[in-house]
Amino acid sequence: MDIELIKFMFMLTVISLYFNVAISLYGVVAKANLVKKLIALTIFQDTVNMFTILVGYKLWRPGLILQPPVLTDLSPTSETIKEFVERSVDPLPQAFVLTAIVIGLAVTLFLTTIVLHVSYHFKTVNVDEISKSKRVYIHEEAV
């Protein structure tokens, strides 16, 4: 494959990730429904994870065989390790993302329980209605 084409596609991927970030931020801020906010937040999480993985990418060149950062030879010589370092992709972003995904899942579960609480308590998940009903409640108390 042509190197220029790869570069163009890479740039296109980065920019589409920016679009994804913008759209999910719009969802988090502008949507009134808490469930929609939550979905937008998970999209945001995944986009950032994807971006982090992309940072560890290594440009393919003719004659270069890329491999994951796992050494397959269990009794390596110094040549094997040298070749492994040349061929392997960056392991650091992968290490960051793998914990981020699980913690993201835990945080999502926590937010889900909160949304469940809110929906039972206020009988709605729309933040505008919730703030309105709160205002009425406070007004009634004052009177």
Partner: protein, 269 residues
């Protein structure tokens, strides 16, 4: 009107980021080569010739997660622990209500298929977690895979299935807490051992260093064990799997039980 302003702001942000990226804000894109620090990690992770800096694991990602940057991961585990704990605290009294549900579950066909698939899921999860130091995978991933199995069982067989087999809330909570304590102990094991026998040791020490002779075993028979990495993966696997199972059990409770808990006292919250 507010929407239009907001959307145009987003468009401006996208255009600005695109311009910055295009003019080289992220450096040469795509990267021609990996960073120096990554080269160092890859070079050291299973290099027996530099054995005072190795992690005894051919898998560079696990070596970074639990050895080179182990302290980071410990604190990430604390965040995970806190998030699950917070979710459970919001439903704390449900755990004490014994649930008498007699759900027949789904049809026989679904049940048989689920039984077979569950075995496969648990096998894959155990393999991912226990081979985390040899192949791509580890405790986090294995635990996340394993937690799908109880979720499936809860939906297909009903909650009764768990109650009959005495898999209770408190047992799962104990399993989670014990594995997290063991995970913490694992990180200071060599310090304690060094203190007892009068040799210096470090927190998160895996293999012997130039200034400390203490070391976890590097091999089990002739297979690389990765020293402490294997144990970290095992305990993390148990903690993640039981933690997610707990939250799933709570979230799949009966509707009126949940409602009763959430409505609170007469005066609300």
């Amino acid at each position: 009107m507010r929407d239009i302003v907001f959307m145009s702001l987003l468009v401006v942000i996208i255009l600005a980021l695109t311009y910055l990226t295009y003019s080289g804000g992220l450096g040469d894109l795509p990267p021609q080569d990996i960073r120096v620090i990554a080269r160092n990690y890859l070079n050291l992770t299973y290099n027996q010739e530099i054995s005072w800096l190795w992690a005894a694991s051919p898998e560079a990602v696990t070596a970074i997660v639990w050895d080179y940057r182990g302290l980071d991961t410990l604190f990430e585990t604390v965040v995970f622990y806190g998030a699950i704990l917070a979710a459970l605290t919001l439903f704390r009294s449900i755990s004490k209500i014994p649930e008498f549900v007699s759900s027949a579950g789904l049809s026989l066909i679904v049940k048989r298929v689920t039984a077979i698939v569950t075995l496969a899921i648990l096998t894959v999860a155990a393999s991912t977690a226990l081979h985390g130091h040899l192949t791509p995978g580890g405790g986090f991933q294995g635990g996340a895979i394993a937690s799908v199995a109880p979720l499936l069982l809860l939906v297909v067989f009903g909650k009764q299935f768990f109650i009959e087999r005495k898999i209770t809330y408190s047992k799962l909570l104990s399993l989670r807490n014990i594995s997290l304590v063991l995970l913490g102990l694992n990180s200071v094991a060599l310090v304690i051992l060094g203190f007892l026998i009068g040799v210096g040791g470090f927190v998160f020490q895996n293999q012997a260093k130039a200034v400390s002779v203490l070391s976890y075993p590097s091999y089990l028979l002739d297979v690389p064990l990765g020293g402490s990495l294997f144990f970290f993966n095992l305990f993390e696997f148990l903690a993640v799997a039981s933690g997610f199972t707990l939250v799933f059990t709570i979230l799949l409770s009966r509707d009126d039980t949940l409602r009763k808990e959430l409505e609170g006292e007469e005066l609300g919250y």
